[in-house]
């Protein structure tokens, strides 16, 4: 009997050891990542996406709950007029080439990024202190500094991007491949993975991590692959060159978003009735409305309707599918819409990736894209109602007709661990530093 007890205890220990061993992070190993976008760049200023996230860091970052957290800057202060900001840099941070992070080494990248957007900025370095001075008030500077465009990095003849992030660049073939290696001296501790290889413009589905773009031609997903869906991270909307028209009102009523969500996004997307998604604004449900074809027909019954060209982004098969469906909905209401990839249509389908978890900052940015930047002045980050009012005004004159929010989809092989936790940080960047893999 005692022997049996000992034997049972021994087996339990082995089993428990195996269980705990399977869930405990392991150092080492490499993963491959496949991204379908071949035009993605290293530079965070790249208009079509960038790969700087594991390599570079910003002074601050947006946390999982949308709150600004310290990153390379440990503390900050600002004058009451929000024109002068002082940042104290994190000590003992070094770049991938071994140079320590100081205010002087951080200044060039920061100044370039800020000057590109704000001409009246000066950055003064003093030891580990950076003083950023604007001619005008900058209450949202922290949100701006959390954006990857303001990341601190340098370039050399041999290294296209020298940052302070958990991975360093070992090889970069634009449009084809990025090879990264773990940065042993990372201030936050060495990442679990030894290396990462990111292949661009491929879609074999055999990588450890691969993105799944939306579109009629779906990527073949191998058996056992886990699909991870991000929160809504991209807005697809209809823009009009001539807002405030009865025709747009009728079109807005005629569009049925449910088939777009259910079929075209395979239920991955989310019907968009507002500019910001529900998870970001918290009030998007207030804009929800069911399609009303009868009302749409009534509105246009007295109109002489020309054929309308609807421009969708060229080579974007998903956007084309959306455009076709909208044309079909419009046709049911008696509106003739001709989808086209040629620019110049009076209606345009846009795909706007969301870039910030700060609702006020994101809405301001989207208003700028919408050509209504002047409305951003009405936004008070401390008062969410101002966001709602501004957004409602935009929707009521049908300057923009939101259609659908899209998440990002990634296929994950079974050997990849800690993905969910890794992505809880900034939802708009590919966070690879906390992953680990079975070997």
């Amino acid at each position: 009997m005692r022997l049996r007890v000992w034997a049972w205890l021994a087996l339990s220990s082995v089993w428990l050891g195996a269980i705990t061993g399977a869930t405990r992070p392991r150092y080492g190993g490499a993963i491959t990542v496949e991204l379908s976008n071949a035009s993605i760049l290293l530079d965070p200023m790249g208009a079509r996406g960038h790969l700087s996230a594991p390599i570079t860091e910003t002074l601050v970052r947006v946390g999982a709950r949308g709150v600004i957290e310290p990153q390379l800057a440990l503390a900050w202060q600002h004058e009451p007029d929000n024109k002068r900001w002082r940042f104290s840099l994190r000590p003992k941070v070094i770049f991938h080439d071994g140079e320590p992070l100081t205010a002087s080494s951080a200044t060039p990248a920061l100044l370039t990024a800020l000057k590109r957007k704000y001409g009246d900025v000066t950055v003064t370095a003093g030891g580990q202190t950076l003083i950023v001075q604007f001619e005008h008030a900058m209450p949202n500077l922290l949100a701006e500094l959390a954006r990857p465009e303001t990341a601190i990095f340098r370039k050399s003849d041999t290294n296209p991007m020298i940052g302070t992030g958990p991975f360093r660049v070992t090889a970069w073939e634009p449009g084809r491949r990025l090879s990264l290696a773990a940065f042993e001296d990372y201030w936050g501790g060495r990442p679990f993975l030894d290396s990462i290889v990111i292949d661009l413009g491929t879609g074999s589905g055999r990588a450890d991590v691969f993105d799944i773009p939306f579109g009629p031609t779906r990527r073949v997903v191998p058996e056992g692959t886990h699909i991870w869906v991000s929160p809504a991270s991209e807005l697809i909307a209809l823009l009009s060159a001539n807002p405030q028209s009865t025709l747009l009102q009728a079109l807005s009523l005629a569009i049925d978003r449910a088939p777009i969500v259910n079929v075209l996004t395979q239920r991955r997307g989310e019907a968009a009735f507002g500019i910001l998604p529900e998870w970001l604004s918290g009030y998007a449900f207030l804009f929800q409305a069911a399609p009303d074809l009868a009302h749409a027909k009534q509105l246009i019954s007295q109109l002489r309707l020309p054929s309308i060209n609807l421009t969708y982004p060229a080579k974007d098969s998903f956007a084309r599918s959306v455009a076709d469906r909208i044309a079909l909905n419009a046709r049911d209401a008696g509106i003739t819409i001709q989808p086209t990839a040629n620019p110049g249509g009076s209606l345009t389908i846009v795909r706007w990736p969301l870039e910030s978890a700060d609702a006020a900052a994101e809405l301001s940015r989207l208003l700028g894209l919408l050509g209504a930047a002047e409305h951003a002045a009405s936004i008070d980050p401390a008062n969410p109602e101002t966001l709602f009012e501004v957004e409602r005004a935009m929707l009521e004159d049908h300057r923009i007709i939101p259609l659908v929010y899209l998440p990002e989809l990634y296929g994950l092989s079974a050997r990849v661990h800690n993905w969910e936790a890794a992505q809880k940080g900034d939802p708009f960047r590919l966070n690879l530093e906390n992953l680990w893999v079975d070997q």
């Binding site: 259910n262 395979q266 076709d324 044309a327 079909l328 989808p339």
Partner: protein
């Protein structure tokens, strides 16, 4: 129109008409042949179209069968049986299947008639395809034409439908191939032929050409009553073949266009050749007319010249006889006729001479007999007085000699008149004012007309102020006018009115003057008018018959004319016309 012109026109007309007839016959034959060929080619093309139609129908049926039996569709059918299946995952299935089977159209339609997936219009998922829900045995229906609505407009397709039994109903697999330009292009091309598919019957014609209008007419007729129909225009023949759908509704019209350009070119060539031949005919006619003139019309022209010679007084003219044909016979007859005319003329002249001599003898006898008889009586009285009463002889002698002298004077006067007539001199023309001559002559007779011992005669002068000068011998004109006035006065023994009238005559060719002398006497009978100007003819008791003969002689010497118009009891008017 000259004979030569007639010959020319005859030959030209003959040639042109002949050419036209030949050209028309050739053109008609070519047209008929071309149209026969046209019809045969159209029939061949239509036959090829139908063969291709049948072949493709079988192909469509085979491919749709393959899709219906494919693993993915079978799996879909099975899954449709499962409750709460999400058909969204199949929304792009039709595109892959259609691509695999090279079909233009493919729709997977669920039991409720909602489109699960559409290859031709992927965005239509979820929409109802109500025509599939009709109670039709789709297998027996086979392949049919169907009008499919697409995003860029309606299209025509060769469609077939297969049904698969799912748990809650049926899965419809509707597939087909587009009937479009590519389909038509697959037909064997025929030179000069063009075929197109008309789907939009109300579309305005692409151009304002006759062919477009012809096509519009054809489409209208076929729409009213679908049937194969042809219309022929100037440059194209159109044949319309109606393409009917499952319910016999007209879905499209296959328009076969046969160019008639080749025929038009051929006709143009024939017309050109005809024009050249016609022109050659005209030239030939011209040349032949000259030849005919020399060969045919020359004897006639010579004969006509002979006739003109004879007419102008050359009685010796004779036609030359060069042939024994009708023209030669005509020349011979002309010569014989001319000889007869000369003989007749000679005989007539001789007869007239005899008659004139007889008339002269009669007149002389008459004129001389009157004074001779008193001479004879007077001489007999003298002889008798010498014998019977010598004492009275002297007195008788004196009276008798007086009488003899008077009668001898009378004889001399008579002889003088004849002598004057015989001695008519040639005129010496000079410009003469005829009105002045008339006034002078009229003035000579004033005393006579106003004599108290005779009935009064009223003189009226109607003289044209615009009378031109006349080239004439004034003395002879005065003499002629005096004779006419004298005659007029003699014609009015009981008085009356004498009218002298001049008038300017402007003719189309020349200018003349007219001089009329009218009286209101007893007038003349037509017989008297006919003989009035014959020498020695008179209607008067003591006239010599030479007055009017002298007038006619004067007028004739001045190349003028004299006429008389008269009726009994209505007076007479003598009219002289002279060239101005």
């Amino acid at each position: 129109m000259s004979f030569r012109t007639k010959v020319f026109l005859s030959i030209t007309t003959t040639v042109v008409v002949s050419v036209w007839i030949v050209a028309s016959v050739v053109s008609t034959l070519v047209t008929n042949s071309f149209e026969r060929q046209d019809t045969q080619r159209t029939a061949a093309l239509v036959s090829q179209f139908r063969s291709e139609f049948d072949r493709r129908s079988a192909e469509v049926a085979r491919r749709v069968d393959a899709i219906a039996n494919s693993e993915s569709v079978q799996r879909l059918t099975v899954n449709l049986g499962a409750s709460k299946i999400d058909t969204a995952q199949y929304y792009d299935a039709a595109q892959a299947l259609a691509k695999e089977q090279s079909l233009s159209f493919l729709e997977l339609v669920g039991p409720e008639g909602s489109i699960i997936s559409s290859a031709e219009w992927p965005a239509r998922f979820g929409y109802k395809e109500s025509w599939l829900e009709q109670p039709v045995d789709w297998k027996a229906q086979g392949v049919f034409l169907q009008r499919e609505e697409l995003a860029d407009g309606p299209a025509l397709g060769l469609m077939t439908v297969r049904t698969l039994n799912a748990a809650d109903g049926q899965l419809y697999v509707a597939g087909g191939q587009r009937l479009d330009k590519a389909f038509l292009d697959s037909l064997p091309p025929a030179p000069g032929m063009n075929i197109r598919l008309v789907r939009d019957f109300d579309a305005p014609p692409p151009s304002d050409t006759p062919a477009s209008k012809l096509a519009a007419d054809l489409i209208r007729d076929v729409r009213q009553r679908p049937r194969e129909l042809s219309l022929t225009g100037s440059d194209v023949t159109l044949t319309a073949i109606p393409l009917l759908g499952r319910d016999k509704q007209l879905l499209a019209i296959l328009m076969v266009e046969n160019s008639r350009a080749e025929l038009a070119n051929l006709k143009t060539y024939i017309q050109g050749t005809a024009w050249i031949a016609g022109s050659a005919g005209v030239l030939l006619g011209l040349g032949f007319s000259f030849w005919a003139a020399s060969r045919v019309t020359q004897p006639l022209l010579a004969l006509a010249s002979n006739v003109r010679d004879v007419a102008s007084g050359n009685w010796d003219a004779r036609a030359r006889i060069d042939s024994a044909d009708e023209v030669g016979q005509l020349a011979q007859d002309f010569n014989r006729m001319t000889e007869q005319l000369v003989e007749q003329r000679d005989r007539m002249i001789q007869a007239e001479r005899v008659a004139a001599w007889r008339e002269l003898a009669r007149r002389l006898a008459h004129e001389l007999k009157n004074p001779l008889f008193p001479l004879q009586i007077t001489i007999e009285n003298l002889q008798r007085a010498r014998q019977t009463s010598p004492q009275q002889f002297d007195e008788v002698f004196r009276e008798s000699t007086t009488t003899l002298l008077a009668e001898l004077d009378n004889l001399k006067t008579i002889v003088g008149r004849f002598s004057d007539f015989a001695r008519m001199p040639a005129p010496h023309p000079e410009p003469v004012n005829l009105n002045q001559v008339v006034q002078e002559v009229a003035h000579l007779f004033d005393a006579q007309m106003q004599a108290v011992d005779r009935p009064r005669i009223v003189k009226i002068l109607q003289l044209d102020d615009n009378l031109p000068l006349v080239p004439a011998d004034p003395e002879q004109i005065r003499r002629a006018l005096r004779n006419l006035v004298l005659n007029a006065l003699d014609a009015m023994p009981n008085g009356g009115t004498l009218t002298l009238r001049t008038q300017r005559l402007d003719g189309p060719v020349d200018r003349k003057v007219a001089l009329e002398v009218s009286d209101t006497g007893a007038g003349l009978t037509p017989e008297e008018c006919a003989r009035l100007f014959t020498p020695y003819y008179t209607t008067k008791q003591h006239g010599t018959g030479l007055g009017l003969a002298i007038v006619q002689s004067v007028v004739s010497d001045h190349e003028g004319t004299i006429t008389v118009r008269s009726e009994p009891s209505k007076g007479a008017t003598f009219r002289i016309e002279l060239r101005a």
